[in-house]
Every structure is written in structure tokens, then in C-alpha cells.
Amino acid sequence: MFTEALWILAAGSLAFSFLKNREKTKNALVFSWKSFMGMALPVLLTVWAIGLLLAFLTPHVIARTIGPESGAWGVMAAAVLGSVVLIPAFIAFPLAGAILNQGASISAVAAFVTTLVMVGILTAPLEAKFFGWRFTLWRNGLSFVFALAIAFMMGRLL
């Protein structure tokens, strides 16, 4: 649904732009094409890596790593796991909910969910392509540290 809307929006805007100013539209498309070519290989590699990794990090493995028997290192493990995997929200939240119901600590689940969205090791090469490695490492590193802080605070407060 969302994807269709996006395509329609893009097509409509493009047509409108073409009617208004051909030169600008041409420049826009050149820009789009160059960006696409620049992203093609990194995107392909990222997708490949996701496939390989998720073959091992199944929901079952994740549940075991974060679950109640994970102990004191559970929060750290959860944060690392969340940084590595890349799964859509409609799988991640039910999974996190199930792990919480199994008796995992609030901190571990919060750490997993927070790093899952904020820290992306698999997408780091792509991020670095646009913003450079220095920016990428700092943004992800700071996000990781703050995700841990959020996790511990939530464990205290809830």
C-alpha cells in the first residue's frame, strides 16, 4: 500500500516537473540515476549479508540469547544482537513481546528493541558511503551506549 503510494507520488511529481521545466527534470533524473548506481553494489552486498546472517540468527536463537536464562550478560548480548540483526517491526515486536512474556528482563528486551532500530552494523558500509566512516562509527557507537543507558533506566523504572 505504502509502496504503491510512493511510486504514484514519484511518478506524479516527475510528470508535473517535466511539464514545468524539462531541463530541471533532466538534472533531477541524472541525480537519481547517479545515486542509484552509487548505491547498487553496497545495497547488494548488504542484502547478501542479511541473508547469510539471518540464516543463523533465527527467532529461536534470539529468544534464547535474550531470554530469562541469559543471566547478567543478557542485556549486553541483547544490545549486540539488536545491533547486528535487521528485522522489520512486524516481526521484531511480537518476538520481543514473546520473549518478555517468557520472563526475560525488561532491560534486555528494551536493549534489543532500541539497538535494533538505532544501531545498524549491516547497514554501516552503506551509511559510511554517504557520511564517511567517522560519522558512521560515532553515530552508531553513541546510539549503542545510549541504548544501554535507556535499557538500564527502563529496568529501574518499570
Binding site: 511510486w7 514519484a10 516527475l14 541525480f31 517491526a89 515486536f93 528494551a110 560519522f135 553515530r139 518499570l158
Partner: protein, 165 residues
């Protein structure tokens, strides 16, 4: 990049030999993510191209530039929340904003918000993890994002001039 490619190729070959089933599931997962990327990237990049050639620099500078203050941060949060799609889509968008004059702080806020705060995602989280958990995490996340972006700004992250874009 060639190193990553080589590593993936070796890893895949080993997996194929040792565990046929797992390598098939890896290929299927990769295909699913590839289809997702290819269905989202082209329209986003077309819109980004149009943004690049139509939107005047002064607009972005005014809304999200270094002098935009609290309002600029609010705009960045709104833009990041409203936009949909996975994080990797946000990278070219963030860079385009930066080149149009948005401040580093605001671009960083935008990136982190895009990654972590989406209204449908919050609803999902409330459903499976509860209202208390989700709202507390939301408040803490927004605060963390502002601090992280502030630190990034203090560290003076200079973004290398991109060749491609």
C-alpha cells in the same frame, strides 16, 4: 568493498557445502530484502532528484539550518517521523538535506528519528510490549537522540564531500 564481497562469497560457499538447507533459506531471505529495497529505492531516489533540483537552498537553510534552533529540531523530528521506509533509505535523504544547508545536528536528529520513531511502529510496540514500556522508551529515545546529535555536533563531524551525489 572487494574484501566484503570476498568474505560473503567464501561464507556462502562454506554454508552451501556444510548446510544446504540453511544456504537456501539465506538466499530466500536475501531475495526478500532485495525485492523490498528495489521497490522502495527507485521512487525515493526520483523524489530526491526532484528535491535536489527544485527546492531552493534557502528554504532548507531556513527550516533546518544552523540558526534554526528549537524549531529546526522540531522540523527534523517531524520529517523523520513522517517519512517511511527502512534506515538505508534515509542516508541519501539525509545527505541531500545536509547539502541543501541543514545543520549537522538536525540531520543527525533526522537520521536517528527516522530509524527509531515511526507512528505505526509505536502502535505495534504498544500492542506487544504495553503502553508503559513503549511510552517510556519513546521519551527516553527522543532525549537520547537529542543528546547524541548534540555530541555529534560538538565532535564536529565533517562529512567528506561526496563524489557521487
Amino acid at each position: 568493498m572487494p574484501v566484503i564481497l570476498l568474505g560473503l562469497a567464501v561464507g556462502t560457499s562454506i554454508l552451501f557445502v556444510l548446510d544446504r538447507d540453511k544456504s537456501v533459506s539465506a538466499a530466500l531471505t536475501a531475495r526478500r530484502y532485495l525485492v523490498e529495497m528495489l521497490s522502495i529505492l527507485p521512487p525515493i531516489l526520483v523524489l530526491l532528484g526532484l528535491f535536489e533540483s527544485w527546492v531552493p537552498k534557502t528554504w532548507v537553510e531556513k527550516a533546518m539550518g544552523p540558526g534554526s534552533g528549537t524549531r529546526g529540531a522540531a522540523v527534523s523530528i517531524l520529517v523523520g517521523t513522517a517519512a517511511m521506509g527502512p534506515l538505508y533509505v534515509a542516508f541519501p535523504v539525509g545527505l541531500a538535506l545536509l547539502k541543501k544547508g541543514a545543520s549537522l545536528f538536525n540531520v543527525c536528529v533526522f537520521l536517528c528519528v527516522w530509524a527509531s520513531i515511526k507512528i505505526p511502529m509505536i502502535l505495534f510496540e504498544v500492542k506487544f510490549l504495553g503502553v508503559e514500556f513503549s511510552l517510556l522508551r519513546l521519551v527516553l529515545t527522543v532525549s537520547a537522540i537529542l543528546v547524541i546529535s548534540g555530541l555529534m555536533n560538538i565532535l564536529r563531524m565533517n562529512i567528506p564531500e561526496r563524489r557521487r551525489l
